[in-house]
């Protein structure tokens, strides 16, 4: 089997995640989908590093994880405070971002 399939898989996951971000209203789920996308990217990175025979890809993936962790922490904090203020975690409730 050709390891390219890993890339296909990651592309698939990424797309699914993206779509999820777009169609889900629950902020938490949206976040999960973002995580999914990140992971898909990581998979691609890892595959590439295997492809090129050096570890830079993995390093990048590592950094991605760290960043993802940070992002999740802050994001979830935001969600919680949002939920506190308006007793719901729907992203559509925050729709003041218009003229």
């Amino acid at each position: 089997m050709n390891p390219v399939n890993y890339l296909y898989l990651s592309a698939l996951l990424f797309t699914i995640g993206a779509t999820g971000v777009l169609i889900r209203r629950n902020a938490i789920v949206v976040f999960m989908c973002i995580e999914l996308m990140l992971n898909a990217c990581n998979l691609a990175f890892v595959t590439f590093s295997r492809m090129h025979g050096n570890l830079d890809g993995q390093v990048i993936a590592f950094f991605t994880m760290v960043v993802a962790a940070a992002e999740v922490v802050v994001g979830l904090a935001i969600i919680v405070s949002l939920f506190r203020s308006r007793h719901s975690a729907s992203v559509d409730d925050a729709s003041l971002m218009k003229l």
């Binding site: 089997m1 050709n2 390891p3 390219v4 890993y6 296909y8 898989l9 698939l12 996951l13 990424f14 797309t15 699914i16 995640g17 993206a18 779509t19 999820g20 777009l22 169609i23 889900r24 209203r25 629950n26 938490i28 789920v29 999960m32 995580e35 999914l36 992971n39 990581n42 998979l43 890892v46 590093s49 295997r50 492809m51 090129h52 025979g53 570890l55 830079d56 993995q58 390093v59 993936a61 590592f62 950094f63 994880m65 760290v66 960043v67 962790a69 940070a70 999740v72 922490v73 802050v74 979830l76 904090a77 969600i79 919680v80 405070s81 939920f83 007793h87 975690a89 729907s90 559509d92």
Partner: protein, 279 residues
């Protein structure tokens, strides 16, 4: 020998593993997106992640594989679960779309994007695979470490700073400053007396109830359930189970069992009813 496993193109074992786990991963991803309840999404996502961890290992990224399990499924997903719990496990948001055309656009974009991506990968010439043989020659972790602390040391420091910032930020966001001093018990009781409500202490959960569960309202002496016996959070989430019907059924079942055990003649319902009425 794992090094060799990563080195040569792919074994049939890996192929098998890929096809099986890959399918599961995709299913998990889809489940993440389409499950009604956040909890389920979280769990399926965790599953997908673990599978990805396996794939990392298969691709010779041993360190990352472990980290994936530990950090993601171990830490981040748990964080998710906490929040889900906080927000409400059973709170299921309807998948019904509110913004006009949003879903179709989203699916269209997704479809298009996916096809393009796959197509792109398809016609990219990616056939020369020189595995991680010498890269992982003296250990994957050492290799990574060498890179991180030499080539990427700056980025590494930055990410460290980022993490700290994130931690602090999270604290700032969630920490709520108490504006006034907490009321002492005396003050609370005095307030209650002044208001004339709940002059006696609140009924404890399940006091008169037939069984004790935090989410079942206890019965008042007159048999009516009182929400006050349930903790505030559950009340807010509306996760109080109604006691009355179940309680009566349980009661009837209990009496039948006791009759059988004691070979008593059954009491005619009237008396029973009367008894109940008298209660």
């Amino acid at each position: 020998m794992t090094a060799q496993l990563a080195a040569y193109s792919t074994s049939t074992g890996e192929a098998f593993q890929f096809w099986v786990l890959g399918t599961v991963a995709v299913i998990g991803a889809l489940a993440t997106v389409f499950m009604k309840k956040a909890v389920h999404s979280a769990l399926s996502l965790a599953g997908t992640m673990i599978i990805l961890a396996v794939f990392y290992l298969a691709n010779g990224a041993y360190f990352l594989g472990i980290v994936q399990v530990v950090v993601y499924t171990g830490a981040i997903m748990m964080l998710f679960l906490f929040v889900v719990m906080l927000v409400g496990v059973t709170a299921a948001d309807s998948l019904k779309e509110t913004i006009k055309g949003q879903r179709w656009l989203a699916l269209l974009c997704g479809l298009g994007f996916g096809i393009l991506l796959l197509g792109g990968i398809g016609n990219a010439s990616l056939n020369d695979f020189n595995g991680l043989g010498q890269a992982n020659g003296n250990g994957n972790v050492e290799g990574l470490a060498a890179l991180i602390f030499t080539k990427y040391v700056f980025a590494f420091e930055i990410t460290g700073a980022l993490l700290i910032t994130a931690a602090v930020g999270a604290m700032v966001l969630t920490h709520r400053e108490r504006t006034e001093r907490a009321k002492t018990q005396r003050e609370l009781s005095e307030q209650r007396v002044r208001e004339g409500k709940y002059v006696p202490p609140l009924p404890a959960p399940g006091v008169y109830a037939r069984h004790n569960a935090v989410d079942i309202a206890g019965l008042l002496p007159d048999g009516t359930p009182s929400d006050l016996t349930v903790s505030k959070t559950l009340r807010d989430r509306g996760q109080i189970r109604d006691v009355s019907s179940e309680a009566l059924n349980d009661l009837r079942a209990l009496e039948q069992r006791s009759e059988e055990r004691l070979e008593r003649t059954e009491i005619e319902p009237a008396t029973f009813k009367r008894e109940e009425a008298s209660q």
